[in-house]
Amino acid sequence: MLEIKNLHAKSEDKDILRGINLQVNVGEVHAIMGPNGSGKSTLAHVLAGREDYEVTQGEILYNGQNLLEMNIEQRAAAGLFLAYQYPIEIPGVSNKYFLKAAMNAVRKQHGQPLIDTTSFLKLLKENMQLLGMDKSMMERSVNEGFSGGEKKRNEILQMAMLQPKLAVLDETDSGLDIDALRIVADGVNTLRGPDRAIIVVTHYQRLLDYIVPDQVHVLAEGRIVRSGDRTLALELEDKGYGFLETHSAAASAAAV
């Protein structure tokens, strides 16, 4: 589904990604972990197409297509979804209007008929109940004045409505209490299935107790320095990212 080959990216002359290689197959859940500043969020935004980052080398294939040649909205229409670490507030645009516009924009790009209001509202109600969201949040402006937890739930709601093929969750666990974490994780697990893939970007192991990954990758200084199964996450929790530095230093030394 997703194949990243030797990906290099920079922002304002600062190299952030320095040769990422990653393959995610359909049906899989991958976790990307790493210390602050390792490039986790950059990778997530490069996938979504944020224009602040410049890809200087490498390629990304998404279902066989060259992802880097697609603009932001084409990627979204092709089923790529990024749940933001810091969702953006949009004063004056109601959450309901935004969601319907997004669903219809995707349908339009696929030449599908637009969703009618009744079906839309029914689907919205179901998903909101599932995420324990209050009805009033629909009439409020997108993320405006939402608490940290409400914003994260709102991201998962958008994901549930848009039903992406590849979901990238950027630090979705940050700022969530344990109850909210469970609800959000349930929302993500509902989406899990044989025709989808999920990439969970996180600093802490905690979320992976709820969203159990098939593979775990550790990112440091813009490269994936280790990959393994979920026990790698537990090991990191146990030993901290410090253990990794000595390990990767040894690995680089060995490479020389």
């Binding site: 979504a48 197409g49 944020r50 224009e51 603009n71 932001i72 909205e73 990627r75 979204a76 229409a77 990024l82 933001y84 969702p87 953006i88 507030e89 949009i90 004063p91 004056g92 645009v93 109601s94 309901k96 209007y97 935004f98 319907k100 516009a101 997004a102 669903m103 924009a105 995707v106 790009q109 402006s141 958008q158 848009l162």
Partner: protein, 440 residues
Amino acid sequence: MIATETDAYQDAYQRLNDARGDTFPVWLRELSERALNQFTTLGIPTTRDEDWRFTNIAPFAARTYKIAESAEIPASRIESLVNDAILDEQFHRLVFINGRYAAQWSYLHELPNGVIAESVAQSILTHPQSIESRVGQHFDCENSAFIALNTAFVEDGANIVVPDDMIVDRPFHLIFLSVTDEPAVSHPRNLISIGKNSRATLIESFRGLEGASYFTNAVTEVELHESAHFDHHKLQHEQLNALHLATTQVDQQAGSHFSSHYFSFGGDLSRNELNCMLNGERAQCTLNGLYMPVGDQHMDCRTRIDHARAHCKSFEIYKGILDGRSKGVFNGKIYVHQDAQKTDAKQSNQALLLSDDAIVDTKPQLEIYADDVRCTHGATVGELDEQAIYYLRSRGIPADQARTMLIFAFANDVVRGVEVLAVRQHLETILLAEHGLDNV
């Protein structure tokens, strides 16, 4: 001071005055004569005049405009202009073509007892005493060349009178159409009086024949008696060759509520002055405005709120969305008189620049002579939020649509304050549907 530039108006005045019949009241003839002299003395303002610093009116106003005659335009074209302007058939409709009341395009539903809704020309002809105390009563004609000019050429407009203790449900819709094939000027003069405890709603629409070049110089005088409620809307859709100047003067007695919703889309150069005199305790006004110049349009919005008595409130939000090489001017004065203790005044002015070449000059002015007041004001100028555009696009919404949504969101603060459904839908259509977005 610029005598030559006002000569054309002198000649036109003589012709108009000769045409005024014997029935034209003496007091109005005198008022009009004085106003013409005042206009001549003041001359057309220049940018050296502080009130006109940002708006160079001289090249426009010095053009030669004829007093608009009833143009020889096929009725079918007028009909389509009227149809474009109609917002809701349920409204009382008074149509003015080139400043003159056009009965055949107007339609008044049954009016509650004692309510007057007729043309000023009709009032002058049949019962001039009913307007004698109301023309120019609340103005300081001394300082405004264009109010003086309007008064000199006073001829027609809408005369609306709602007696005490009466609610008029149907809005009055005044439609001003400029239909001319040569540069022409009209000076509509509207007189509105809302009685004690009464309520009424008014909409003024300004439009013109496509491609027409003209000058609209409108004045609306509003008096609100004790505890009257009045909602005023103005939809400025003039043609792109038009010069549009307008002044609305509101005198508010104790406990009255006035709300103004001003929307400016058309005209080459437009300037709207709105002055509210809070002349009785606990009077309240809400002034909302949205101006959206594109291309080379110039839009000037001026408001002045006089807190003359204690315990009055005023709320003001003006927003500008500027594209192309357009220019916007906002000047909002709040003047708190010495006796106006416990004044509560809030003013906010925001501008969104969509292009690098658009310019906005914004000047909030607070003058406070009372010591126990709460006055706040804020002004911001910004661009569309790129982060928000990215967020919307990352949900599949194309870039153009994302921008339109954000523009609408910015404007919506002002639009959603409009309580008359047909007016709000009209605005939503302009802001959304014309860009291919649906309403929710």
